[in-house]
Structure formats: structure tokens, C-alpha cells
Amino acid sequence: MIKIENLHKSYKMGSNSLHVLKGINFSVEEGELVAIMGSSGSGKSTLLNILGMLDGLDEGSYTLDGVPIKDLNETKAANYRNKFLGFVFQSFNLINYKNAMENVALPLYYQKVGRKERQEKALKYLEQVGLKEWATHLPSELSGGQKQRVAIARAMAAEPKVLLADEPTGALDSTTSYEVMDLIQKINDLGNTILVVTHEPDIANMCKRIVHLKDGVIVEDKKVKQVRASEYV
């Protein structure tokens, strides 16, 4: 599903150049649930941004579902993001003046899905995350865990090839974190490919594979026995 070869990325900081990713080789099969771990500055967020086409790469190649991702202009990147990727952020990033259903329906708007169908689909995904009754509530009326579930529903609504989650539990307490991880695991059970960036070992252990980044290189890449989050809920 994802294939990365010899990925390099550096940032210009004034006259200095900061080499963040120093040759990453990495691939993800369909249906995997991968945790990307590393301390801050290890390059995990940069990797995620490149995977998410929010940032370009300097060197190497990136193939997503057989499509080489290169020479991206804004419009092309937007198209690929919309078709291939779903995002879940640490701080949820819901649009605060849209209710839960409208937030979930938004990626479908950019897929040019009709209004009625958008709403139906949005409700379906809200139901999947157990928030159908909250469809007309604004984000400000939801708890953190609920917000993240809405964000996950929104990410799923576009039916992406890969779900990218950047510290999805970073702003949540542990109980809520496990609830969210439970949801992510269930989505993964349905066959979706998911990448989770985290620095919490217990969250990482709920994935099927852990990739350790340190100073811009992969230092460890191992399959783990998945801990089911439902055990803690």
C-alpha cells in the first residue's frame, strides 16, 4: 500500500540546513496497523507530513497504492489527499461552526458528492463511531473523546486508502484514549490501513507493528502482538 525508498528531507533554517530524515526505507501492506514511535525531533511528524502529502520530499521515492507521488502541485496534492488519505489530528481540528454531521460530510463535499448523499453517509459513519445521536451538536458541545471520534468518522467518510493519525490520543485521558484506540482497532479490523504516530508505548502496543524512529532513521521495525484496547474499556 505504501512504499518508501531512501527518503531524505531537510529543512532550511536560515543559513543552516537541518537534515531531518536521513534515508528511510519503509513499506506498509494493506490492512496493517502501524505505530510510528520516536521522541520529539526524531522526524516522525515530518515523515507523517510527507506521507500525508502535506510536505514534499527532497530525495527518494514514495508510492501510494501503486501511484508514484511526485511533482506535486497544490491542486494535485489536494486531489490525492482527498482520494487516498484520511487525517486524524491530536487537536481534532473540527470546524467549530459546523455540527458533527457537517464536519463528517465536509470531505465528501470536496469529492463533489451531492448534499443528500453526503448527509446520509455522514450519519452512517457517525453511527459507526457511536455518535449518531450527537449529529446536530457543535464541537463545543462534545467531549474530547467524542470530538476525536467525530474526527475519525470524518477521516473515514472519504473512504481513504490510508488513515493517518497524528497523536490521536495526545489530548485525551487514558480511558478516553483506549476508547479511541478501540475504535481505531475496529476500523482496522474492517481491513483499513492505519498509521498512528505516538510516543506512548501502551498506545503503540495496541497496533500490530511498531516502527521506531531516532534522529531521522528507522532504528527498529517489529511486529508486535496486538493488545486489544477493549480489554481496558
Binding site: L54, T75, A78, R81, N82, N93, I95, K98, Y110
Partner: protein
């Protein structure tokens, strides 16, 4: 533009950001409102001044002689000029002048007017029929002095409404009554009135010019000449025509009466249109001033719209980032922001326009203060200012939107 989904998205955004929308709307609407009202009053003042000068047939002019002030051709200064019939005839026949009406006045001196043994203290003036139009008088009863009267030295008189009220109030009509002027008997054939409030001029009894000169020692003397020039398309054309006419008139009279060409005081011309011209210049200035104020109001409007757009875009940077992450294309975001901005400024601008134009339409005709009449505004001008404001809002919205779209999604979504 006609993408229904886009419109729904915009209406959603507007509905859910009422305060922002209302503030933008109010600033645009009030800018337009103030501008239109200002322009309206500028026009109103111009209308008012134009009307003020309409009362006294604005194209008329009055000519009367005074004393010379400059020595000329061996003649001493301080010499009284006396106009004569031949002057009038020369002007009306020989001079190639473009005038519409011409009349002359002779005021007999030391005459006594008697009606049924009562002495009346009114002025006698000899004139011809054209005076009625030039002085802007209306007829209440009977007729005015006419050409036949002048030709046949008829002993007829036309009195004013005021005299009728004061002297003939017992009678149903003064027509057919006889008054005696220094022994000569005149039959009253008409009653006239003056437009406007000037009662002074209603003190007069008019008789034919020829009769006046013949009966009261006038020989061929006249005191006053009056002319009315044609109404032309534009005010400027009338001023030009007037200047040409008076120039030629003065040149002729000065030459005939041996007045120095540079002696401006020997022959006087009362010329309302030249006065009006001065006021017109003044209103022109006032109008310019209002335009200046209006222009700066628009600038203020543009600045405030731009300001609001900047804040709106800044406030929405995160939202823009989210939309981008969800697959929005850059142009769709810029389009959305601009679309919303144009929509809001247009609605607000036209609301301001309709309100202010409505106010002018409704109340304008009732405004009757001196020098302000029927304030109104050229719709085209007002319309183009609204368009200008919309375009300004567009440009003002475009650059921050463009900048916001260039921002990396990661930056936009970075936690505060």
C-alpha cells in the same frame, strides 16, 4: 458561480457567523448610505439655488442710466445720461441682437392720481406689452397694455392687485372705472399681480409708453430698458449669450451717449443670470466638497472592508488548513472566501443604496429649506460606488486568502 453546493456552503458559513457578517454588512451599508445622502444633498443645494433664481425670470436684464464718472471727448464727468426712444429702437431693430422680449419704462414726474376725489399715492409707469413677461407678472382681470394702446396713445391703465384691494375693494371689479392722472382721464382695463412676495412692484399703475411721454412732458425720454433673452439648453450657453448681448448693448449705448468705454458706472445693467452664475460656481464648489467627503467615506469603507477581510481570513487560517487536509483545492478555498465576501458586500452595499435612495425619494420632495430643494442622486453614480466597494472588498479579500492558502497545512494546524 451557479454551483448550488457552493452557495449552500456559503449560506451555511454566513448563517453560522452572524456577527462577523453583520459587522461587515453594517460598515459597507453605512458607507454607501452616507455617501448617497451626501451626494443627494449636494444635488439638493444645486437644485435649490437654481430654483431660487427661477422666480425672477432669470434670463431678463434691466438697463438704466446714471451719471458719468470719467471725462471723455471734452465732456465733464458727472453728466447725467438720458436714454431716448431712438436708443431703444436702434437696439430692437438695428442691432443684431438675439432677444425674446424688449420693453421700456418711462416714469412721469410730479403727477397726481385721483379717483373719485381721492388722491392715490402710486407710481405711474409708461411701458409696452412685453413688460408683463419680463417682470414675470400674471393677469388677474382684463388685459395688459398691448401694441394697439402704444400705437394709438390710448388712455388706458393697468393696476395691480394691491391697488385693487386698497382702492376698489367696494366694487366687484375695477375694470371700466376711470382714474384721473394730472388731469387726463384713464380707463382701467386690467389688473396684474406679481409672482413671488415682492409687493413693492405692485405699487405701480401702468399706462402705454407713448401716452405717458406725450401727456406728461416726456418727449422721447425713457428711464429704463428691459430685455428678456431666450432660454437655452444649458446654463453656460445662457450666460455666454447674456455676456455677448450686454457687451454689445453697452458698447452701443456708450458710443451714442459719449461715455468713456472704461466708464462702468454711467450705464448700469441689473443682470440676475450673472448673479446666478456666481451662486452656481459656489454650488459647484459645495458639490466638489461633498464629492470629496464622499470619496473619503468610500475610502474609509474600502479600508474597513479590507480590514474585516484580513481578520476574517486570519481567523479562518486553521479552517483553511483543515479544508486543505480534507482535499480542498487552493482555488476552491480562495473562491469560497471571495464568493462570500462579494456576496456579503453586495447585499450590504445594495441595502445601503436602497435605503438611502428610498429615503431621498420619500423625503426629498418635502425638503423645502432655502437653498435646498429635492435632494436626489444619480442612480448610476450610486450604483458604480457600490460596484467599486465590492471590487475593493474583493481585492482586499484576495491577497490574505491567497496567502492563507499558501500556508502549509502543518503550520495552519499547529497547536497554539
Amino acid at each position: 458561480m451557479f454551483d448550488i453546493e457552493r452557495w449552500q456552503e456559503i449560506f451555511d458559513t454566513i448563517r453560522k457567523n452572524k456577527l462577523r457578517t453583520i459587522l461587515t454588512g453594517i460598515s459597507v451599508a453605512s458607507g454607501i448610505f452616507i455617501l448617497v445622502i451626501l451626494l443627494g444633498f449636494g444635488q439638493g443645494m444645486q437644485n435649490g439655488i437654481a430654483a431660487e433664481f427661477k422666480e425672477d425670470a432669470a434670463t431678463s436684464l434691466w438697463v438704466w442710466p446714471r451719471r458719468t464718472t470719467i471725462e471723455y471727448k471734452g465732456l465733464n464727468p458727472d453728466r447725467q445720461i438720458q436714454l431716448r426712444n431712438e436708443n431703444f429702437e436702434a437696439i430692437t431693430t438695428a442691432m443684431d441682437a438675439d432677444y425674446e422680449k424688449a420693453s421700456l419704462l418711462f416714469f412721469p414726474r410730479d403727477v397726481q392720481v385721483v379717483y373719485k376725489n381721492d388722491l392715490l399715492v402710486y407710481n405711474i409707469a409708461g411701458t409696452n406689452g412685453d413688460l408683463q413677461i419680463i417682470e414675470n407678472e400674471f393677469l388677474s382681470e382684463g388685459r395688459y397694455i398691448n401694441e394697439t394702446d402704444v400705437r394709438e396713445n390710448a388712455k388706458v391703465a393697468v393696476i395691480s392687485n394691491k391697488i385693487k384691494r386698497e382702492v376698489f375693494s367696494d366694487l366687484e371689479t375695477p375694470l371700466g372705472e376711470y382714474i384721473t392722472i394730472s388731469g387726463a382721464v384713464f380707463k382701467i382695463v386690467g389688473v396684474f399681480g406679481e409672482y413671488g412676495k415682492n409687493e413693492d412692484e405692485e405699487e405701480r399703475i401702468f399706462i402705454p409708453i407713448t401716452t405717458a411721454q406725450l401727456a406728461f412732458n416726456g418727449s422721447d425720454k425713457i428711464n429704463n430698458m428691459n430685455f428678456m433673452l431666450p432660454e437655452l439648453e444649458s446654463f453656460d450657453a445662457m450666460v455666454e449669450n447674456n455676456t455677448a448681448f450686454t457687451g454689445e448693448l453697452l458698447r452701443y449705448l456708450k458710443q451714442q451717449h459719449n461715455v468713456a468705454p472704461e466708464d462702468d458706472r454711467a450705464i448700469r445693467i441689473w443682470n440676475p443670470i450673472q448673479e446666478a452664475k456666481r451662486y452656481y460656481a459656489l454650488t459647484g464648489g459645495i458639490k466638489m466638497f461633498f464629492w470629496g467627503v464622499g470619496f473619503f467615506t468610500i475610502i474609509a469603507g474600502v479600508v474597513s472592508v479590507s480590514n474585516i477581510m484580513l481578520i476574517v481570513v486570519k481567523e479562518r487560517t486553521r479552517e483553511i488548513g483543515i479544508r486543505k487536509a480534507l482535499g480542498a483545492k487552493p482555488w476552491s478555498i480562495i473562491g469560497m472566501i471571495m464568493h462570500e465576501a462579494i456576496f456579503v458586500t453586495a447585499i450590504a452595499g445594495f441595502t445601503g443604496l436602497i435605503f438611502s435612495m428610498g429615503l431621498l425619494e420619500l423625503l426629498g420632495p418635502y425638503v423645502e429649506v432655502d437653498y435646498v430643494l429635492n435632494p436626489s442622486v444619480d442612480f448610476k453614480v450610486a450604483f458604480s460606488t457600490v460596484i467599486l466597494l465590492i471590487v475593493a472588498g474583493m481585492i482586499a479579500g484576495f491577497f490574505p486568502a491567497w496567502k492563507a492558502v499558501r500556508v502549509q497545512v502543518i503550520e495552519a494546524l499547529r497547536d497554539e
